[in-house]
Subunit: 103 residues, 2 copies
Amino acid sequence: MFPILDPLLHSELRLAVMSLLITTNEAEFPYIKQQTGATAGNLSVQLDKLATAGYIEVEKTFKGKKPCTLCRITPTGLKAFEDYVAALRSYLNISPEGDTKKD
Amino acid sequence: MFPILDPLLHSELRLAVMSLLITTNEAEFPYIKQQTGATAGNLSVQLDKLATAGYIEVEKTFKGKKPCTLCRITPTGLKAFEDYVAALRSYLNISPEGDTKKD
DNA sequence: ATAATTTGGTTTATAAAATAAACTTGTTTA
DNA sequence: TAAACAAGTTTATTTTATAAACCAAATTAT
């Protein structure tokens, strides 16, 4: 009836990060921070969790002389996101086509 | 970009309860427990939170000699649920019609 | 040159939440 | 009438989210 919602994705900030990375494909730390409105500390922690789960990959490079943390979604992450959305639908009373179910 | 997700609804069990009450209109404690697979303690706590927020109303009656806790969603709760779903869409990359956005 | 500020984060501490375990009250059954 | 059960509630524990404090390197101001 109510499938489990992947706890890693059922988090406002982590979900926002994943959503962002799906549309942008890859993004730098400061950009993600700005788009999500997160504090740097919180973002750092949540990126770690996503990376540890293999949902994103984090590449640490340099942009000129400045460190640059680049994040990219992985196939595993994309699959997890899609599964999460599918599971959520059972809760939201919306069909795969998105219309609200009349009861 | 990423609207706040009502923390009261962004909880697996509370969301399941709300979803259930929307389709059944009203339901008894043991039924909700069975449908959601929650433990009684957890369910009791989460129902309290929803009731305190005015999202559901809880009526304590008797069914014969046994106590019977009946739950019903309120207009406030329904509105909150709809707002939550609308907010979630921004995260899920689905349009109001439900199709996945291609980037 | 060097002190102050900014950038780009990480680590650690705190606050809040979810969850289960233990308990209560009354009822039915052996 | 003692044991088991039903229907919850309360309390304690674990997990999670979040922010505050911190650090290193680079840039800017004096």
